[in-house]
């Protein structure tokens, strides 16, 4: 299992910061990208459109690379998107940062569906800040 091994770890810690105001991650050095693995629950009871959420996350945020989770590649962050409030998606072994979203929450904090995307970004920012403060 190689997931969670940050390929750019040393450089990333010093180059990433978050704008708390707009919840947008800024990559100071455009040559550095964080890789976010996205995993879905399986969608037996879709309260949200997880595919559309994924697309919107992918389109609007510069500096991050979103891809579907697989256990063959290395990722910096694992984002698990559950389509209903249950949140039953399997969490694979992962040694990096993990953000878990349901249709009504992000990391167990309530989130309106209309605000879900921003709440996910806030959680991603929090993870990165945590890592920066740990260095």
């Amino acid at each position: 299992m190689r997931a969670g091994n940050c390929r750019h770890k040393a450089k990333r810690r010093s180059d990433v910061s978050c704008s708390g105001k707009r919840n947008i991650i800024l990559i100071k050095d455009k040559g550095v990208f964080l890789r976010v693995a996205v995993k879905f629950c399986g969608n037996c009871n879709s309260h949200i459109d997880p595919g559309a959420l994924y697309t919107s996350l992918k389109e609007e945020r510069e500096g991050l690379i979103f891809d579907f989770y697989n256990d063959k590649e290395s990722f910096d962050i694992l984002l698990i998107i559950n389509s209903c409030p249950i949140g039953c998606a399997t969490s694979p072994p992962f040694y990096g940062h993990v953000v878990i979203a349901t249709s009504e929450s992000v990391d167990d904090w309530p989130a309106e569906k209309s605000q879900l995307r921003e709440a996910i970004w806030e959680a991603l920012c929090t993870r990165i800040k945590q890592e920066e403060s740990n260095k």
């Binding site: 996205v38 399986g42 969608n43 037996c44 997880p50 579907f68 989770y69 039953c88 998606a89």
Partner: protein, 485 residues
């Protein structure tokens, strides 16, 4: 893992003999036949969804044999989480097909056989489990569609197999050779058989020693010499020879495409024989299979009922009474009934337990209660759908009339509901409800995975009635020793 297209291509390589309305179909082209292609499309969905990241958490699993990622339909349950995910997977796929996708039968058959062969080998010193495991590895590696084949014709139900006037009314071993066995008989109601690669044959009930030749579990290709399939008719199936609208669900069809499979002296090599004469384990295999299969129904029928509920709400809106209080109340009732079905399937999975083989098995009582509910609640769900949908779905003109240059304008004009909704759309939804709430769809809910009485007979065995009596006596202030029963 294969894609849906891989699966379809592989079906063309079989030399299968399928008769439909008295005619032998071309084995290379039968999957394109209007009576069959919907069932193939539906089964293909079980392959395609396994490659979609949105669904793979439910659709795939890790093989306990090889460590490889496999299609869940080829998996042996390794925990209650697997059992729960199975139910959720079935509900999700049903929401995409609106009908049966057939692949659960073989899935349940191999899980049942896996647990039983392990226990049989430990007790009797046979090596069936090793054979089955080798067979399963190939199944997983090639992502096969294997149909579970249990139900025999059964003839006179008051007689045991060996007492029947015709001994072939239950599948039996007619010859044992050095290299394998020869079987004869037939299997009824074979869902997905004509679009599978192999069949996993199981006994149809518990047997005594006098019927040990009927205690046989084995696998054979669906196109093995000596096998013919006679495809079953369905309600309104001639509509499949016409356009699309009148079929209701033209892409995926209705139920699973069942057939009568005749086994006329079919040879099975020993490495594909997993029970041969061990009559004392026949009943256990039947029970395990039945419970795994009954687990499914709150999942698959839950998903099908999601479609029926959605279609009912839509037809009400298209007809202008979607906001009526009684309609909303009826839709809520449909939701209540659907989730009741689903709850039993989730419950029997969450309460599953580990067997000696390591595979997990559902709670049998809750699985039976769930399937028993399906024999009742689906009828109620469908009754409400027909109530809200209106009589026109049973009386309206055909797609050909709608598209007729002469009379199409009248169909368009007089079948209109809410002015902004195209008449064709309203007709499509009405035909979908008609297709999903009548004919073979209802009969399948009644008898698929066993008729209601088959579930009821399990209750006295599994429900611990003595405990209930003891509780009652205690509350009533009666000491059990004072009561003679």
């Amino acid at each position: 893992m294969n894609t849906g297209q891989d699966y379809k291509d592989s079906l063309r390589n079989r030399n299968i003999k399928v008769y439909l309305k008295g005619q032998l179909l071309d084995s290379k082209e039968l999957i394109d036949h209007p009576f069959i292609r919907g069932h193939v499309n539906s089964a293909a969905m079980t392959y395609d969804l396994a490659h979609d990241p949105l669904y793979e958490d439910l659709m795939t699993a890790t093989s306990h044999l090889t460590g490889k990622k496999i299609n869940r339909f080829t998996h042996i349950h390794q925990g209650t989480e697997d059992l729960v995910k199975k139910v959720k997977m079935l509900r999700m796929i049903s929401q995409k097909t609106g009908t049966c996708y057939q692949r659960c039968v073989g899935f349940d058959a191999v899980n049942a056989a896996y647990t039983v062969t392990y226990e049989m080998d430990k007790k009797l010193g046979t090596n069936y489990h090793e054979r089955l495991t080798a067979y399963l590895k190939n199944w997983q590696e090639n992502d096969l569609m294997v149909v579970g084949a249990m139900t025999d014709p059964k003839g006179d139900r008051s007689l045991r197999p060996s007492q029947q006037a015709d001994p072939d009314l239950f599948v039996r071993v007619v010859e044992k050779r050095d290299d394998g066995i020869v079987i004869r008989g037939a299997k009824m109601h074979m869902t997905g058989m004509v679009n599978s690669h192999e069949m996993l044959i199981m006994p149809t009930s518990a047997y005594g020693e006098e019927d040990k030749d009927y205690a046989v579990c084995c696998a054979v290709p669906v196109d093995a010499p000596g096998i013919i399939h006679i495809f079953g008719r369905q309600t309104n199936d001639d509509r499949k020879m016409e356009g699309e609208i009148d079929q209701g669900n033209a892409r995926f069809g209705t139920v699973g495409g069942e057939c009568l499979t005749v086994l006329e002296d079919v040879f099975v090599p020993w490495d594909k024989v997993f029970m041969c004469g061990e009559y004392e384990y026949a009943g256990l295999l039947v029970e395990r299979f039945a419970c795994y299969h009954r687990q499914n129904y709150g999942g698959c029928k839950g998903g099908v009922s999601d479609i029926v509920t959605g279609a009912t709400a839509v037809i009400a809106e298209m007809s202008g009474y979607g906001k009526a209080a009684h309609v909303k109340d009826k839709i809520n009732e449909m939701i209540h009934l659907t989730e009741t079905l689903y709850a039993c399937s989730i419950a029997c999975s969450a309460e599953g337990k580990k067997t000696a083989s390591g595979a997990y098995y559902v709670d049998p009582l809750l699985a039976n209660v769930g399937k028993h509910n399906v024999t009742r609640l689906i009828y109620e769900i469908d009754r409400i759908a027909q109530d809200v949908g209106g009589g026109f779905m049973a009386t309206m003109p055909s797609e050909s009339d709608l598209k007729s240059p002469e009379i199409g304008k009248y169909v368009e004009k007089y079948l209109k509901g809410v002015a902004s909704i195209p008449t064709e759309d309203r007709m499509r939804v009405a035909r979908l409800i008609e297709n999903m709430t009548g004919g073979v769809a209802l009969v399948e809910s009644m008898h698929g995975a066993g008729s209601p009485q088959a579930q009821k007979v399990m209750y006295s065995k599994l429900s611990n009635l003595e405990h209930k009596k003891k509780c009652a006596l205690e509350i009533a202030g009666i000491k059990p020793k004072d009561v003679v029963m």
